[in-house]
């Protein structure tokens, strides 16, 4: 597949093209600023051999490709976030050309402006909570094997029921933690718990959440996370950040 397309990284308020000149995007390509009214689309050119509909679908299922492109995308978004309030787009916002991207953003200008206002002076922090000790040591399986088929079924039913109860307790716990931290954040959002095969962490993940916190509110938020961490076993609470506000950018493109 030949040909190229326009890849959109983020939307900001109007910014000088010179400001993005030192930055590099996917594949080391230079960045451009395309104006859409008083908004700016930060873009670069990508190849359709990589970002056309079919190649992209294939590539998105390739972890090595994902890793590289996600990092290149994030590097641009991070650099922009240091310059100005940035509404990051997620990976894969590809347009036929610069003009199409600008038209799309112009149509979303109300939402973009509103989002920019929400994001001003704020940053994202991630909080992950793990179940370091399984809830209630699993009742030791009876030493003797089941005496009958019925007995086997009863025991299995009991085990599954116990697991369901444990799962509920963990879910309630996660909800409580999320609500607690939400009170010291501007906005909060939950992500799917991470797949242990990807994260490399065996302990169940109870909570994978993102919080939008004002820069002034950072100490208070961190203090709350500290308190949370103190009330749990070592390593159960992991704080990541600051992130560009990916989880709170409502300007989403298919």
């Amino acid at each position: 597949m030949t040909g190229s397309a326009t890849y959109l990284y983020a939307v900001t308020r109007r910014v000088d093209g010179a400001a993005v000149a030192p930055l590099r995007g996917i594949g080391g390509a230079p960045l451009r600023v395309v104006e859409a009214g008083e908004l700016a689309c930060v873009v670069s050119t990508v190849g359709l051999d990589e970002f056309g509909e079919e190649p992209l679908e294939r590539n998105l299922a390739d972890l090595a490709w994902l890793a590289r492109v996600a990092r290149e995308h994030d590097a641009v978004v991070q650099a922009l976030a240091e310059l100005t309030t940035t509404v990051p787009l997620r990976l894969g916002a590809v347009y036929v050309d610069d003009g199409s991207a600008a038209v799309r953003v112009a149509r979303l200008r109300e939402a973009a402006r509103a989002t920019l206002d929400v994001l001003d002076g704020r940053e994202e922090w991630g909080v992950k909570v793990y179940a370091v000790h399984p809830t209630a040591a699993a009742p030791t399986a009876p030493a003797d094997p089941p005496s009958s088929g019925l007995e086997y079924l009863r025991r299995r039913r009991g085990e599954l029921a116990r697991r369901a109860v444990d799962a509920h307790a963990l879910a309630d716990d996660a909800d409580a933690v999320f609500e607690d931290l939400r009170t010291v954040a501007v906005l909060a959002r939950r992500h799917r718990p991470q797949d242990p095969a990807l994260s490399g962490v065996k302990q169940p993940m109870l909570l994978n959440a993102a919080f939008l916190v004002g820069r002034d509110g950072r100490p208070e938020f961190h203090h709350a996370v500290d308190l949370l961490a103190q009330s749990r076993p070592d390593g159960a609470v992991v704080l990541t950040g600051p992130w560009p506000p990916y989880s709170f950018a409502t300007l989403d493109d298919a």
């Binding site: 996600a70 992500h191 797949d195 095969a197 994260s199 100490p219 961490a229």
Partner: protein
């Protein structure tokens, strides 16, 4: 104000999975699909979701 984060563990922002949670609309998982490859050639791919659906419909729900 000094910021001390010793108690909560702060991970390096480079964690790929944390990044993917954010730059992909719905995060990422290893699916139930399994592909067996030999000498770099994908030989067998099993799509397990289809299998589960079939099995579930087979029962009386």
């Amino acid at each position: 104000m000094s910021e001390s984060f010793e108690l909560a563990v702060i991970e390096n922002r480079n964690s790929l999975v944390d990044l993917l949670d954010r730059v992909l609309a719905t995060g990422v998982v290893l699916s139930g699909d399994v592909t067996l490859c030999l000498a770099g050639v994908d030989l067998v791919t099993v799509k397990l979701r289809a299998l589960i659906t079939t099995v579930r419909e087979g029962g009386d729900g």
